[in-house]
Amino acid sequence: MNAISASAATKPRFGGRSGGDFIREYFVYIALAALIVFFAFASPYFMTTQNVANIGRQTATVSIVAVGMAFVIINAQIDLSVGSVFALCGMASALVMQYVVNFWLLGALAAVAVGVVFGFLNGLVTVKLGVPSFLVTLGMLGVARGIALLITDTKPVLISNPTYFQIFGESTFLGLPIAVIWTLVIVAIGVVVLHKSIFGLRVFATGGNPQAARFTGVNTQRTIISSFVITGALVGLASLLFTGIAHAARPDLGSGLELDVIAAVILGGVSLFGGRGTIIGVLAGSLIIGIMNNGLVLMGVSSSVQQIIKGIIIIAAVSLSKKR
């Protein structure tokens, strides 16, 4: 209907893309590179092997949960409960190994199962009762945290299973910390599922225009529920990587995780309105969050000031990546 788009449709434009589009599309990678260069100059310790491994380990939680969150947000939904569910998943695996059987796989399954159940509930209530997922998961944030605090009367639970620590925490593979390997595996699976599978296509369609997706024969409710379940499962996995290092689960773990994860996903170029985004972008967004956390500590910035700087950088980055 409109002449701008129609002329674009009939006459191929040279190069096809303006400079502004280019910056917007690759903004996250440019920002990531700039951040690395900045901290490399600001702190001599930043680029050491030891610290790079640390960054990888510390970023794993955010990256892995962000892969799931990407599915949810591309579906035009949101999950605010990931931080609390993270704590509950950690408690589940620790409790199972403490009181049921001290077997690493069972502990792992318990954590993932709790994540899946909460993801399923988030999705189910969202689509069946038609409550916006913002509210459903805001409520679930309280529910999951409350349960985590209640079951041990706010006490931490110790884990003493060396195999568990090896698989989820302390070992290395090909010279990389195991958490980094887990991150790479999940990102690779995420790329295939989101960008190469029929399910991924349905996720984009459901977020892009749910009604058109439905009219094309997509079961949008199932797509949405599945995305919450994927996020829940990944929250469970991420909790293992944390408790595998800490050798204990605490009911107050993961508070504020949802903010880091959502910031990573949006920085990574996923549209908050759904229908657009890439897993690789989300990984880059997670690295920005992780490197910022790490670099500011190295520079000796106090944790209160860190929060302020992080908040400002996120707002600036997101608005820069949108404008122009």
Binding site: M1, N2, S197
Partner: protein
């Protein structure tokens, strides 16, 4: 087809020029969307603006309206440079606030208030009443806009523009969502507004309306003006050829594409009905029965709001029926979701293309891969190569004009967007094709191409059921027509040379009146 309005035609020749645009050009990324276009409008004149989708009509309107600056040229109203408010556009997407009343909408942003800043609702209602009386509009100022029909909302938009002293009104496809009865109401109001000396620029794809309403016509193609003429000097056929840029004998409603088409042959018809609906009731309709054979194109003529869309959506599994039976090749079906309907081979081309037909911001490739995913899947994964091959084939077959299959659907013209919707269902296994206003907002040239596609579906044995407010379309497209009111469905009538749009209109009206008398 009906004679031009000779009365207003002679009026406008006597009055002076109201709007004068000279040498307008507009560049987008180095390409002329509009090049050296002159346009003028006299007071009290209806000037139709025509052209294929993407020809530059919207750009011209936006420049006249002042929404976009021109790169070259000037726009004058009454001999002075245009000031904001001189020209008001009533867009296809209406800009009224549903929860506010008619008067509140008309006064939005410059409400009358007393010394305390409190709004004087009574005074506003009184002024609006005077205005609507003057324009002959039958609308209560206190009525919330959400209670009004689409046609009435447009009239409110028009009243709002005139209240704000617009000298020129731009109506952008005002009838695209109106029933015939509402159209007549709108046309009557347009004539009243003309008498008040307002100039009207009328953008449309429906040529019959040009002859019914307009004094002069301007055709734009590829950003250039190709014609301005008195409507009384034009014929339908020659106008079509100017718009599409083809020779006269190549196009037009009587073109060979339609002559070539013969109703589905006996052999196909004896297969038994493909789609059989018996005594079906649902949202806004009840006791509806109809039958469509494989290869047959059947039309439903009915007024908007009588449950036509709801009927199609019920068959397609979007809505549930409350009673009755739907049979597909003799087997009773009851779809709980569109997903089930689609996998059974029942496809719907919905009325609202942007909301329900396509995912605008996604590429053609992504839109079509989704619909064809059954054929393209390799286990849980999508075969990318096969998807590209398939989509390339569909773009060729349907002659979808796009830079590439990666272009977002929103970058295409309306006609090409609609072709993408049809391309979604060009797959084996589609047994029933339900079309809700299949060529709404589609230009003349693309419309012919879409008709060809519809015939192709029928030739391959699909049962096609068409709902359209454009009775010319029903006549051109269908083998049989049903007349529908919300509680009754006629016996099917075969479409012959006598089944003109006028005939369909009066036959439908008779039924509507009868069904009211029965109540």
């Amino acid at each position: 087809m009906s004679a031009p309005n000779a009365q207003s035609g002679s009026d406008s020749e006597e009055t002076g020029t109201l709007l004068q645009a000279t040498g307008l050009s507009k560049l987008f990324s180095g390409i002329y969307a509009l090049k050296d276009v002159d346009f003028d409008l006299k007071a009290g004149e209806v000037h139709a603006l025509l052209g294929p989708n993407g020809a530059g009509k919207s750009t011209l309107i936006k420049i006249l309206d002042g929404v976009q600056p021109q790169d070259e040229g000037s726009v004058e109203v009454d001999g002075r440079p245009r000031t904001s408010g001189d020209i008001a556009t009533v867009f296809q997407e209406l800009s009224l606030i549903p929860a506010l009343t008619v008067a509140q909408n008309i006064f939005l942003g410059n409400e009358i208030h007393n010394a305390l800043g409190l709004v004087r609702t009574g005074e506003m209602n009184r002024i609006v009443k005077v205005l609507t009386d003057r324009l002959g509009l039958n609308i209560r100022p206190e009525e919330p806009v959400e209670n009004l029909s689409v046609a009435s909302r447009q009239l409110v938009e028009i009243a709002k523009a005139i209240h704000r002293n617009a000298r020129v009104l731009v109506l952008d496809e005002p009838t695209s969502t109106l029933t015939k009865a509402d159209q007549l109401l709108l046309f009557k109001s347009i004539r009243d507004i003309q008498k008040a000396g307002v100039g009207i620029i009328y953008v449309t794809h429906r040529l019959t309306e040009v002859f019914e309403l307009a004094d002069r016509v301007t055709v734009i193609r590829d950003g250039r003006k190709v014609l301005t003429a008195q409507v009384s000097d034009m014929e339908m056929k020659s106008l079509v050829s100017v718009i599409t840029g083809t020779k006269t004998d190549e196009v037009g409603p009587s073109a060979q594409d339609f002559d070539r088409y013969v109703p589905a042959d006996e052999a196909q018809l004896t297969d038994g009905p493909r789609l059989q609906v018996s005594m079906l009731s649902g949202d806004r309709f009840s006791n509806i029965s109809l039958t469509v054979a494989p290869g047959q194109i059947v039309g439903i003529a009915g007024l908007i709001g009588t449950g036509r869309t709801e009927l199609l959506e019920t068959i397609a599994g979007v809505r549930r029926s409350s009673a009755g039976d739907i049979r597909l090749d003799g087997k009773s079906v009851s779809f709980k979701s569109t997903a089930q309907a689609v996998s059974a081979g029942v496809a719907l081309v919905p009325e609202d293309r942007h909301q329900s037909g396509v995912i605008l911001q996604h590429s053609i490739l992504r839109n079509l891969a989704l619909a064809h995913s059954k054929a393209l899947r390799r286990g849980p994964l999508m075969d990318d190569g096969a998807a590209r091959t398939l989509v390339r084939g569909l773009i060729d077959t349907l002659q979808i004009k796009a830079v590439s299959m990666g272009s977002p659907v929103q970058s295409l013209s309306g006609g090409n967007q609609q072709k993408v919707v049809f391309a979604k269902w060009m797959q084996p296994g589609v047994r029933v094709l339900l079309l809700d206003e299949p060529t709404q907002g589609v230009d003349v040239g693309a419309r012919q191409e879409i008709y060809k596609v519809i015939h192709r579906f029928a030739e391959e044995g699909a049962a096609v059921l068409v709902v359209s407010s454009d009775f010319v379309e029903l006549q051109e497209l269908c083998d049989e027509i049903y007349f529908m009111t919300s509680t009754t469905m006629s016996e099917p009538e075969p479409v012959t040379a006598e089944t003109t749009d006028q005939y369909i209109y009066s036959a439908l009206n008779e039924r509507v009146i009868k069904s009211h008398e029965r109540d």
